[in-house]
Point group: C2
Chain length 239, copies 2
DNA sequence: CAGCGTAACGGCACTCAGTGCCGCTAGCAA
DNA sequence: TTGCTAGCGGCACTGAGTGCCGTTACGCTG
């Protein structure tokens, strides 16, 4: 469709790192075009390799699996997120930081709208690709959870692990919801604004309930496993 | 190991529905034993079929894929969840209902601890199986989200879809967190109690907005189980 | 009890994803 | 030019998943 190179880039491309990235892009581009035109199952790895002008064996030197070609830039995004976390102001609300970091995913989707739309059409249609995408999301959700857990533990939260996992899942879900809605409308409208609204709901949910309204006074008899009971009450109050 | 039938169940088993379920179980059991003994990759579908005394082709009549055999009862759980939702009291907090429904997953894991532990060891080790499990979780997370969305829309919530997706993700994350922790300790301790505590965190976070200040005085004896403390406080805060 | 139709089963053959191996050669350095 | 390195293509192989078909056990009916 666009500029699918039906004939080879002559010779040895991957000798230099720049050449490697170039061929990776060419393979990914050829694959997406073929998937969109003929369908995912109907397209063989041979077809993709031939369209990019390389041998089938070379494809598997650039991608571990056929479906990996659709999520080629995922590793870079995860790396960017880790950098974001490393450079984040420790004073900020951890959930806010995590929301900002996950915004990088939105950016990368918006950066290549054509790819995003074609991939979206595929993940909606092909079950195995849907599963692959879910697994991809889970991977950066884990990165989120790891960051949040570290921050919560710094705050002395006894349930840091649980809270982190739940918050990370909520953030990822909000992000995906915004993303899918945006893709369903063909990539029109301001995603970042919609995302900010959605993240506000999450940030709000994981702060003190109803502002700082609710109060719990627990009167306990005797002094037994008091520290444990206090921990539970603190959980309700959102320590 | 246990009772791996190295020789066939003589003849035609799947003629009756009961026979079909029996062979399904036999195949799943044989598969798990082989996976645990020899590893997932090293075990071929031929091996599984032979261990169950049937042909390779028959295996694929009972399971769509090799990895499906590990999540054999998943469809039943989803069906049970749907029933739970259909029979749920509309007056109850939707998130509470969803938490109760997802508890069915915990029940099914607890019902066959041996299988659960072996599967857990595999999903921790084999990447493709981890992805498969994530996809499985996503499937019932969608069921949760669908229920919640319907309820929220009844309540006239304009952001029903988003809230439902986020809450469903949070519930699933809490459930998984509890489940994994429990499995990591070999299935000891009271999961249901731990789950109730974890769900309390989620229910509290996603309580309907517009809550006014509340003061709760809880007088409890030291003999009261912790999860009941949480449950009662939560009741008062919501009622 | 005997015959009949249905459907489960096994087996064969095929496609394709993914992998190990090897020989070739383009590119770089001495 | 010569030698070394590494990207590449191709070959061959394993194993998952599928379509097809002949066989036969089983349930049902006369």
């Amino acid at each position: 469709m666009t500029d699918s190179p039906r004939r080879a880039p002559a010779t040895r491309v991957g000798a230099t790192p720049a050449g490697r990235r170039q061929l990776r892009r060419a393979l990914a581009s050829a694959a997406v075009d073929l998937f969109a035109a003929d369908g995912y199952e109907a397209t063989t790895v041979d077809d993709i390799a031939a369209a990019a002008g390389v041998g089938r064996r070379t494809f598997f030197r650039y991608f571990d699996a056929k479906d990996d070609v659709l999520f080629a830039n995922h590793d870079e995004i995860v790396a960017e997120m880790e950098e974001e976390f490393a450079a984040a102001d420790p004073a900020r609300d951890p959930v806010e930081v995590a929301c900002a970091a996950v915004g990088l995913v939105l950016d990368s989707y918006a950066a290549d709208l054509d790819l995003s739309l074609k991939r979206f059409a595929l993940t909606r249609t092909v079950p195995s690709l849907r599963d692959k995408e879910v697994a991809t999301v889970d991977r950066y959700q884990r990165v989120l959870a790891r960051y949040l857990q570290a921050r919560y533990e710094e705050q002395g939260d006894a349930t840091a692990s649980l809270r982190a996992a739940v918050a990370a899942a909520a953030i990822a879900a909000a992000n995906n919801h915004v993303l899918r809605r945006w893709l369903r409308t063909g990539g029109t409208g301001d995603i970042k604004a919609t995302a900010t609204e959605a993240f506000a709901l999450v940030i709000d949910a994981f702060r003190a309930p109803g502002g700082e309204a609710a109060t719990v006074v627990a009167v306990l008899t005797t002094a037994t496993p008091l520290h444990e009971v206090v921990a539970r009450v603190g959980e309700v109050l959102r320590g």
